[in-house]
Amino acid sequence: MIAHLWDRLADAKARLDPVQSKYRVLFENPADPEAPASVLVPDPNFMAAALAGNVLPPIDTYIRDQSVPDGQPKEHPYAEPVGAMTEEEAIEYLVMKDISPSIWRDYNGNRTIMKIVPVELIPSDRSFRNAWKINQAEQEIAA
């Protein structure tokens, strides 16, 4: 029998050292263009579990569970765990899990509304935090 995800996470936290990711994910909500850019910060215990493998469920179980009504059984807590990921694969997993598909999958506009960046590129001065936007000047143009 597969242990519940919460138990697997508690076990992983007890035996794995946390891993601080060198990446952050910047994103903007196209439905709220006036809102500042958001910054997704990966959890160190979650990253450790992702890199070790055999803890986290397949990402598609989370995506399917997003359409399950509250109070109904969800698939991800008892799904067969996936193997070890690289740090880059773990960040992609987090993007699909914790950012709305309207941002990473469905957006067709011209603005860059999501970027995976090294943590050093995130300003540590938060004086004008509510004015942060993704820099469009650095957008790569496909050949």
């Binding site: 519940h4 919460w6 996470l9 500042p36 910054v39 959890d43 215990n45 991800h76 914790d98 935090r129």
Partner: protein, 121 residues
């Protein structure tokens, strides 16, 4: 990983049903440094946090909650003049707001902590 399947837990004198222990434990918690470059100090059952703006943080569950009727306990700030409040909750995430207690303006407190009590999915 082994599982103990027992109905009661006892210290030799007092006995309580296991459900009291299971249902009474925090199902998720997180301690965030909200000043400078936001970072997670430690957590349980959290996959990531999202910095939405000044004093405004969302926390994403690794293991979702069964419904959105759970309890959020918050604490934090930087000194005696900062407070924290629940902002919203959903089965996949919860959101908090940190503020200056005098002006009520949003504030990036250096310690922003929360714990969740409720039923897991």
């Amino acid at each position: 990983m082994s599982t103990l399947n027992v109905a009661n837990v006892t210290d030799g004198t007092t006995s309580v049903p296991t459900g009291y222990v299971v249902n009474g434990s925090a199902k998720a918690w997180c301690n965030v440094n909200g000043s400078g470059t936001i970072a997670i100090r430690d957590s349980q059952n959290v996959s990531s946090v999202t910095d939405n703006g000044t004093g405004d943080i969302s926390y994403n569950f690794s293991n979702s909650m069964a419904n959105a009727n759970y309890v959020i306990v918050v604490s934090g700030g930087q000194d005696n003049s900062q407070g924290m409040a629940r902002y919203s909750e959903a089965t996949g995430s919860w959101r908090t707001y940190c503020y200056n207690e005098f002006s009520r303006d949003a504030f990036d407190g250096s310690v922003q902590s929360s714990a969740i009590f409720g039923d897991l999915a």
